[in-house]
């Protein structure tokens, strides 16, 4: 681990300022992703701005009947909130399907959205990785890439986003609010937060340097059932192979791309009355197998059809 300095600012303005005045600084929230990456020197911030105690840990009801979830709420807090559980069961299910209880107690809403890929080659600093070291190549391409992307990937990077929570939030049309380093507040859809890799997989999100996520805003719950289903190699404490969040006839996928993937073609087909299997196939037409991950295409299709069967039946499973 590289030596670094550390501070714990008192308020949001000070936090943003601390990053602005200190090149190479990073926000530290729960630390469950950042500290791991620092230990293997994939992240080497010169300065840590600990936002862990900023007053951003509330969950409030919004005027339109949705929820505003502070960026520093823990995953456990959100998943166990009675309003979340009744209005957005898909979100509670997605969160508890991630990590372990200990991790969820530390992990925050903002940190979960910003966590980096779990591509094994990204974690292995001896291997080429365009995300870690732009221009070095992509070891996953042509490697043991069973868990890589089938949608939106590029020759530069075929990694997937690991967040479960983000998949549910994307299906719920949630937006994040941020404060930029210049002190400007802005808002963008969770589904638009992450960038596809293209030629610049090192650029992961639309956030600018030093921009702080302050909260996630979820609009009022849509009608229809909600379900989150995640396929994984063991029963708990494993990243997903693929996952699906179905909210009424909205569909978002995890484990298929470098971002939570809204299956818009599927949604449009469903809205047009196309039967579920064909509607699912509509989005998957663009899916591409790369080496060992081809099974994901069939898998996410079957999983989605099953999930939609549940939500269409109106059950809030």
């Amino acid at each position: 681990m590289k030596p670094f300095t550390y501070e714990r600012p008192k308020d949001v303005a000070a936090a943003v300022k601390a990053i602005r005045t200190s090149p190479g600084a990073k926000f530290l929230a729960g630390g469950t992703n950042l500290l791991d990456l620092m230990k293997v020197e994939i992240e080497a911030p010169s300065h840590l701005v600990d936002i862990g105690r900023l007053p951003l840990a509330n969950i409030e009801t919004t005027r339109d009947g949705g929820l505003r979830i502070g960026a520093m709420t823990t995953n456990t807090q959100v998943a166990s909130d009675p309003r979340v559980r009744s209005l957005y069961p898909v979100l509670a299910q997605a969160i508890v399907s991630g990590g372990s209880a200990q991790l969820r107690n530390k992990a925050t809403t903002g940190g979960n959205l910003m966590q980096r890929t779990r591509c094994a080659y990204f974690y292995d600093t001896a291997k080429p990785c365009n995300k870690r070291q732009p221009g070095s190549g992509c070891a996953a391409l042509g490697g043991l890439n069973r868990n890589s992307a089938i949608l939106g990937a590029s020759e530069a990077c075929i990694a997937t986003s690991p967040s479960d929570m983000g998949v549910a939030l994307a299906a719920l049309d949630a937006r994040i609010e941020t404060l930029t380093a210049e002190g400007v507040t802005r808002s963008l859809a969770v589904a638009d937060l992450h960038r596809l890799p293209g030629d610049t997989p090192e650029l992961e999100t639309e956030l600018k340097t030093g921009e702080l996520i302050t909260c996630v805003v979820i609009p009022a719950a849509p009608t229809g059932g909600q379900v989150y289903r995640k396929v994984r190699d063991r029963a708990s404490y494993a990243g997903g192979l693929v996952s699906v969040a179905a909210v009424g006839n909205r569909v978002a996928w995890g484990g298929v791309a470098l971002k939570p993937w809204r299956a818009e073609k599927t949604e449009a087909a469903l809205a047009a009355g196309v039967p579920i299997p064909e509607a699912v196939a509509a989005e998957l037409a663009a899916a591409e197998a790369r080496g060992k991950n081809g099974f994901k295409i069939a898998l996410v299709g079957r999983l989605t059809a099953a999930a939609l069967d549940e939500t269409f039946a109106g059950r809030r499973a």
């Binding site: 681990m1 590289k2 030596p3 230990k39 293997v40 020197e41 372990s100 779990r118 094994a120 974690y123 292995d124 001896a126 291997k127 070891a139 042509g142 490697g143 043991l144 069973r146 396929v231 994984r232 190699d233 063991r234 029963a235 708990s236 404490y237 494993a238 990243g239 192979l241 099974f295 069939a298 898998l299 079957r302 999983l303 099953a306």
Partner: protein, 754 residues
């Protein structure tokens, strides 16, 4: 030398007067461990402030170091030394044994500029803090000249050769027997590379006192570690004091020493300061041994009534180019089922990978994954129940050696297990039981694992306050050795358990071979028992020769020991008062055990039968275990609690083998894909919902004076196959390629139109 006949005579342990043997006894060191106060090797407090070391690992599989730039590391904050092959202190050449009695040869680090596997130590940094050491280690820049490496096992099967000094065993005429069999099975199974994944990494704290080094290290074999370090440093072994009190998991992976031991000792000498060195999690995966992959061809030829005519397992496995090791995946089968025509053997591919080595039940754990699946497949072909098929092939004597079995309760294990598990509710036709999206099925497998006794010594001291201390250069790798040794000592000497202390893991103590091969309890325990018997005779002599003893002048053969007293009829005194009066400095004796001269006249094993129920998600191919039950026969059970922990722990590992554990090699680099526990998946609690086991009543009086056998490895034997068979019964997908991950099951489901 003794004969097994002596072992069958009644003795304090077999008589078990106070009932301590077999009881549920909490772990001797349990409180220390659950309160985090048991000092593991890295946590031992050295006599003065330590420096911290960090090894730098190779990132190619084979080649030569062209240059190593250490200047940035040397200039990094807090750095005390940086070593490469150019400046590391001299060590004896690899394998050298200056002392012919050393159990292990020299194991030097950074001995040359040759790279023989990915993960090999190439440089070493010591600094004032762990963080500084790690940061500096990351600054060491190595350039290589790479050479072609053999790292892809499946692509190298054509290089398989007969392992050194081995030959195939053929009995009868396998070819003819197989050809003539009306029902045949010929299938190939694959068991992948697996890692030990111990919680505690390899770690050492070392310091010197003059010319003598003290090392606290995490190793399963005290003498092996002591000798390896002495040979490496080219010093006498009595100049190495090796201590290994607590071990956070070994499983065979810590049967040998690694560079942490050598480097800590070398650096502590160089810096004249204690040094701590631990492997990182990544180095644990990449730079220690692993269980090699095995490809197994199984051929079974049977009569329509199920009797086997011909039986064969041919296993191909691999090891590091210069470190011979064979995963004997066929050996177990030589004693399992009757068949007149038999062929078994192994082939070995030398590869440029880290060392292959033993892991919990080496041979059985992999081998049974094949045969016990094949038997299930054969049962289906024959239309015979899988339990019944195995019973029909139960041999009366060892089918290869013709020796009698010491005791063999395999059939009882299967019958008892079938009954308790509810095996009769299994529908033999696959894919018939559906619950919502789940297809549910049952499978079973038999288990067998050899039993061993090695030579060992022990010491017992009784002090004037009556405290009995067992001293042994044995290890407890988390299995319960401390606890069972306390029980054996207490029962042998007739003292309450809380009067007994156990001190282990010190090279100054009477040596025992350590933990491995499920020989630990039998070997160390028998030595403790024999030492207890020496102590009884010594105390009896002391009493009958002491005019102040109530036993003065008594016949020593009539003296008894119970409740902390030595007694003759109604005359008695406490051991404390006897020792305090007759030998106030305390009484110390040593004793030993060695294999009986006629021990090999019997075929001796432990047995089990495992039953599993799984559910397969018909949409996703995910397999979830619903319940698993095992029945085992492993001699007398010393401690119901620790034995059950060992057996169910083995079963749980077998569940991981079946469903998740694998570490594929990236053929482009020769490295493992998974280098942390987020990628290498062992079972989590949620995977282990309902796993239970029982032991059958048994005493094996051919095994050792205690009538006990090993339980540490038996639990994993057959487990994975039982699950594979349950998957098949659930959904009709027959997988022969472990682990059975959702992608593989899904492919099968789709192929079946599900």
């Amino acid at each position: 030398m003794s004969s097994v006949k002596d072992w069958a005579l009644p003795n304090p342990v077999s008589e078990n007067r106070s009932g301590l043997i077999g009881k549920t006894v909490d772990r001797y060191e349990g409180r220390l461990k659950v309160t985090g106060t048991a000092p593991y090797a890295y946590e031992v407090e050295p006599p003065s402030a330590p420096a911290y070391g960090q090894a730098v690992s190779a990132t190619i599989a084979r080649g030569r170091i062209v240059s190593i730039d250490t200047s940035a590391a040397e200039a990094s904050p807090g750095v005390k030394l940086v070593w490469t092959s150019r400046n590391v202190p001299a060590q004896a050449a690899r394998g050298e044994r200056a002392n012919p009695r050393s159990q292990r040869g020299s194991n030097p680090t950074m001995a040359s500029d040759a790279v023989e596997f990915y993960g090999q130590t190439l440089a070493f940094v010591a600094a004032d803090t762990l963080e500084n050491a790690r940061a500096a280690a990351a600054l060491v820049a190595v350039t290589y000249e790479t050479q072609p490496a053999t790292v892809d096992f499946m692509a190298s099967l054509d290089q398989a050769e007969m392992p050194p000094g081995e030959e195939d065993t053929e009995i009868g005429d396998f070819g003819a027997g197989f050809a003539a069999s009306p029902v045949k099975l010929d299938e190939t199974y694959f068991s992948p590379i697996a890692n030990h994944t111990q919680m505690e990494p390899c770690a050492t704290t070392a310091w010197w006192d003059g010319d003598k080094v003290t090392v606290h290290t995490s190793i399963q074999m005290v003498k092996g570690g002591q000798h390896a370090l002495a040979e490496t440093l080219a010093i006498a072994s009595d100049k190495v004091h090796l201590i290994t009190r607590y071990i956070g998991g070994g499983f065979g992976g810590k049967g040998q020493s690694y560079d942490d031991l050598t480097l800590a000792a070398l650096a502590a000498r160089e810096l004249n300061q204690p040094v701590k060195v631990a492997y990182t999690r990544q180095q644990m995966f990449q730079a220690t041994i692993h269980r090699p992959a095995v490809q197994m061809r199984v051929r079974l030829g049977a009569e329509p009534d199920g009797r086997l005519n011909a039986f064969s397992i041919e296993a191909i496995t691999h090891c590091a180019r210069n470190v011979p090791f064979t995963e004997h995946a066929a050996n177990f089968s030589r004693s399992l089922y009757a068949a007149p025509n038999r062929l078994t053997g192994h082939r070995l591919v030398r590869m440029d990978l880290p060392g292959a080595g033993p892991m919990r039940a080496p041979g059985e754990a992999t081998g049974m994954l094949s045969l016990e699946c094949a038997m299930d497949e054969l049962a289906e072909k024959l239309g015979i129940d899988p339990v019944e098929l195995r019973i029909r092939n139960e041999p009366t004597v060892d089918p290869e050696t013709g020796k009698p079995f010491s005791v063999r309760q395999l059939v009882s294990c299967m019958r008892e297990g079938a009954q308790r598990f509810g095996w009769e509710r299994r529908n033999p036709t696959p894919g018939q039981v559906r619950e919502g999206r789940w297809l549910v099925g049952m499978g079973m497998a038999a288990g067998i694992r050899g039993n061993f006794l090695l030579p060992a010594k022990a010491g017992i001291r009784i002090t004037a306050d009556g405290t009995v201390t067992l001293l042994q250069g044995m290890t407890d790798i988390g299995t319960g050795t401390y606890t069972i040794l306390a029980q054996i000592t207490a029962e042998t000497l007739g003292v309450p358990l809380d009067q007994v202390r156990v001190e282990l893991g010190d090279s100054d103590m009477p040596p025992a071979p350590g933990s491995g091969g499920q020989f630990g309890a039998a070997t160390a325990g028998s030595a403790a028992f024999e030492t207890g018997m020496v102590m009884r005779r010594t105390l009896a002599d002391l009493a009958i020769n002491d005019p102040n003893s109530p036993l003065f002048g008594a016949d020593p053969t009539l003296v008894t020991f119970a409740n902390g007293n030595i007694a003759l009829e109604n005359q008695s005194e406490s051991l404390a008062s006897l020792v305090a009066r007759a030998q106030p400095d305390g009484v110390y004796v040593e004793g030993s055990i060695s294999p009986a001269a006629d021990a090999r006249d019997w075929s001796q094993h432990t047995y089990g039968a495992q039953f599993a129920e799984v559910a397969v998600d018909v949409v996703t191919g995910e397999v979830r275990l619903r319940r698993m039950f095992g029945v085992f026969a492993a001699g007398r059970i010393l401690n119901a609690k620790t034995a059950k922990s060992q057996i169910t722990g083995g079963m749980i590992w077998g569940i991981g083998t079946a469903l998740t554990e694998t570490n594929p090699v990236d053929p482009r680099y020769g490295s493992f894909l998974n280098q942390d526990m987020a990628g290498y998946l062992v079972p989590s609690h949620a995977d282990i919902v309902n796993v239970d086991s029982i032991f059958l009543d048994e005493t094996d009086d051919k095994a050792n004076p205690l009538g006990i056998k090993g339980v540490g490895e038996l639990g994993i034997c057959g487990t994975g196959a039982a699950i594979a068979n349950a998957i098949y019964n659930a959904c009709g997908v027959r997988l022969r390629d472990y682990p059975m991950t959702p992608d593989k099951v899904l492919e099968g489901l789709i192929a079946k139109g599900l």
